[in-house]
Amino acid sequence: MRDSARAAVRAIGRAAPAAAAVGLLLAFNAAFTPGFFDLAVADGRLAGSLVDVVNRGAVVALLALGMALVIATGGVDLSVGAVMAIAGATAATLVAQHGASPWAAIAGALAVGAAAGAFNGALVAGAGVQPIVATLVLMVAGRGAAQLLTGGQIVTFNDPVLNFIDGGFVAGVPMPVLIAAGALALGLALTRGTALGLFVEATGDNERAARLAGVRVRAVKAAAYVLCGVAASVAGLLAASDIRAADANNAGLYLELDAILAAVLGGTALRGGRFSLVGAVLGALFIQGLTTTLYLHDVSPNATLAVKAGAVLAVCLAVSERVRAWVGRK
């Protein structure tokens, strides 16, 4: 049992940077942001800055979940932002221009996300192209495709089902929170409830060994990209639903970096191997929490970046064992 306790500590240890980051941020806000922790229930809905953070953080959290898996296989997916744009554009144009039912639109968006993931997977696992280049293709071309769908316009829709995806509440809890939590639960079930997690980690850690042990390394990699694509398309739906429009030009722009950051803060090593889905979500919450905090304190946009840099470094240093050892020696 001591052994399993140690395993648990290790698992938490991986997510430590993100957990510490979220902790620091909460502590900061507790001290300096009046009303940050206020929770109100207005018209049976939970509201407050904290809710906003989770609510807004859902998009990056979804991306980070998929990204963590892909990174764990030893890859990276730069196309998630573009896939968000395509998914949003698909859903919006289906509903607004082709009169499709919202359910068909959602299905279409998810299918497009899966197809995008399959494309990346085929390039990486099938053709053996380096992940960063393989997914760069879709990062560039994908946004073009999304713009092609929308004609470069912001396609607005007003459909109760689509609006509900981001704007709805179930039992007072905002939908994005539920969707992100659901995705996390699904991700955990898929990786820890099946052998996928083990295979992903083995593949990312030592691909040759995994192959010789009989793991279908290509299928594992492809699956990671497909899951990542689907997660990105859900994020795209959220983003579109948020503004009740598909903005193919801007949806998900530069979010790939946030997603990678969240995953890495969450304890997923960029070289592949061990990953932590909980950590990835915490990482995403940290990023969003930081953004929201900066808004609340009205830090000038030009200084925002410097503050972000400081925060990332501080978090890294705070959890680095070497720093502790070093400080201890002094």
Partner: protein
């Protein structure tokens, strides 16, 4: 992609014009691209197009490519104002007239370009400021949604607006953040503003319509009535803004016309005909508010 290679320019009399566009970051820019493209088609001009994806390097590269292709004229929508002297000088040496659209360039020798067809961003900011001052009676708490940090319209629209409201000590900008010119960011930032200011916000000034449209949603979701509880003024005048005005949710938009195609090709033709053009052909922008929105909306093309 087979229609690619132009037939030898010498054989046919078709005019070849290169157009270096910044990117496709907004519907506004798409409208501008489309305007130039359709005008080229209407006049039978062979248009060479390059999308720089927001990078000046790419634009400079595209200009050099146009020059080496010996195009007849170049239309340039510069991503930043500085840094064009060397490449414009190369164009001049090759006797290729360059027409600038929607944004000026900072060069000492203004013979380097033929003309600039653009709105005055600073003036747009002033117009928005003046309108808002009048509407609020010279006093009010304003939040500002800035464009992308460092971009010329963001800088100029901020400056113009600040100039205009400087005359009214009662008007204060209580918060100002970047919404990156996008709806999603506009909404997100507005959400935070509403929380932070505990809803004591009289007006929103957004550097473009998209951010204002995002802010409207945030205001609605906070349980307030945009256009009544919070006054909104923004810039661009896209169709969606007019729709929002008709619905009473947006109060005012300052036009910034992207349909520069006709004017640009007029300028190209005149330049090729040897005429000298004024250095700035100012696009006259107007202020539209709710009072005229309904009647004007039918005439909007973008």
């Amino acid at each position: 992609k087979e229609q690619t290679a132009a037939p030898d320019a010498v054989g046919t009399k078709r005019l070849v014009v290169g157009f270096s566009q910044i990117g496709a970051e907004s519907a506004w820019r798409t409208a501008e691209t489309e305007s130039i493209r359709s005008e080229a088609a209407a006049r039978g001009v062979d248009l060479k197009f390059s999308d720089a994806q927001q990078k000046q390097e790419n634009q400079i590269r595209a200009l050099r490519t146009f020059i080496s292709q010996k195009v007849d004229a170049i239309i340039l929508a510069p991503v930043v104002e500085t840094g064009w002297e060397p490449v414009l000088r190369e164009a001049k040496r090759a006797s290729i007239p360059v027409v600038l659209v929607d944004r000026g360039v900072d060069v000492e020798d203004d013979s380097l370009y033929t003309t600039l067809i653009a709105s005055d961003f600073v003036e747009e900011g002033r117009m928005a400021g003046r309108w808002l001052a009048e509407r609020l009676g010279g006093a009010g708490r304003i939040v500002e949604l800035q464009g992308t940090p460092g971009s010329a319209p963001a800088i100029d629209r901020k400056r113009g607006f600040e100039e205009a409201i400087a005359e009214f000590p009662g008007m204060t900008i209580v918060r100002s953040q970047s919404g990156d010119f996008t709806r999603a960011k506009g909404k997100e930032v507005m959400e935070a503003f509403l929380k932070a200011e505990r809803q004591k916000i009289d007006a929103v000034y957004a550097h473009n319509d998209d951010m204002a449209l995002g802010a409207i949603q945030a205001i609605e979701e906070a349980g307030l009535k945009p256009g009544t509880d919070v006054i909104l003024v923004s810039i661009d005048g896209v169709r969606a803004a007019f729709e929002a005005m008709v619905e009473g949710k947006l109060n005012c938009t300052v036009e910034c016309n992207p349909l520069l195609g006709p004017a640009a090709f007029d300028a190209v033709m005149r330049a090729l005909a040897g005429e000298t053009l004024p250095k700035w052909i100012k696009v006259e922008d107007r202020v539209f508010d709710q009072s005229v929105a309904a009647e004007v909306i039918g005439t909007r093309q973008y």
